[in-house]
Amino acid sequence: MLHTANLEALTRTGFVENNTKAYTTPNHKITQGSHRDMTVQAANAKQQENKEFDQMLVERAQQGDKRAFGLLVEKYHRKLGRLLSRMIRDQAEVEDVVQESFIKAYRALHSFRGDSAFYTWLYRIGINTAKNYLVSLGRKPQVMQDVEIEDVENFDEGTDMRTMETPETSLMTKEIAQTVNDAIAALPEELRTAITLRELEGLSYEDIANVMQCPIGTVRSRIFRARETIATKLRPLLDTPQHKRW
């Protein structure tokens, strides 16, 4: 499921639709069918996204490089937290379980052979850790049935999972989300289209180049410039003491 709530919001504001139309030509008309084909490819592309680099980071961590594992933590802790927040209501408890999950993952990393994607393996550990945590408290997880191991394979950002946030974190989340969305809205059209097709639709650079009818190198540059522009607006929020980098 690639059409997230955020995608719908962006579509409503014209990000996706307008830009797709803007780059539609007679020779490259994006029909509903071709768009569906691309989204299927995009789903596959997202599944493969960085799997190789993740494996490289895992191997480095297995050789004793804790910083390599830190890059994986930076990359996946938000996704894992969001997944586990479906099982555990309290934000502080979710954070504890996320932390414990990563430590367990690190301790078990020697057994990771790369048969599955790292994030699938990590999510399994996270779910089991959450279940054990709730059982240890004598609690019956209210939504445990909804999150089973099998769901991990199909877990996608677009799935309707709502984080249980405290007022503070909710405010912070909204502030960050608003900043990013405002920054995207203010981007030049070609940058906005490139980053949207990449992050929301999950298209490869080659597909984006076909849609936008430009070289792949241009796509690479546009996506980079879009990210840097957004990051410039985002850093004041992220570089607070609460978000200082390890």
Binding site: N50, G64, H77, E95, E157, G158, R220, R227, L238, R245
Partner: protein, 154 residues
């Protein structure tokens, strides 16, 4: 560098060529900061933002207390270094084999009967041998063959 990192985040860079990006990303510089920023942006755009308080730093602080891991894969990599020993052993065996061969050849030579004795036997037997086998000679040259002691004139 950051543009390459951006492409790497999208899986659009050959992993075998990203060692320098990896080294920069795990440092504390702006490339490392970009690693965080690009993933936060992605998570927000994909409606996957989950705000934590110092989560990464908390985990990394706890990892500092964990013993450094050396998984089997890493051990295998380390074994590649120790494989130098067998290579040295091969040379050692070659040298040892050469020495042993030289020893046996030397022993064989030293245990041979003295040369003078061998020649005496040859001197004594040659006449009888030539006479007994002259019929098998291709011509009559053997009739003219005489056994002459090399020291006959002394």
């Amino acid at each position: 560098m950051k543009q390459q990192l951006s492409a790497l985040v999208d899986g659009e860079v050959d992993v075998e060529r990203c060692e320098h990006i990896f080294l920069a990303a795990k440092s504390t510089g702006e490339v490392a900061q970009a690693w965080r920023d690009y993933h936060v942006i992605r998570d927000v755009i994909r409606d996957d933002c989950w705000v934590e308080s110092e989560m990464t730093s908390r985990i990394m602080a706890q990892l500092d207390d964990e013993p450094t891991m050396l998984a089997p894969q890493a051990m295998a990599a380390a074994d590649k270094v120790t494989h130098i020993r067998p290579r040295l052993s091969k040379y050692s065996w070659s040298i040892a084999a050469s020495v042993a061969a030289a020893f046996f050849v030397g022993m064989f030579v030293l245990n041979q009967p003295e040369v003078t004795a061998t020649m005496q036997i040859a001197d004594n037997d040659t006449d009888e041998y030539v006479v007994a086998h002259h019929n098998y000679a291709p011509n009559s040259a053997t009739y003219y063959m005489h056994n002459v002691a090399y020291n006959a004139g002394e």
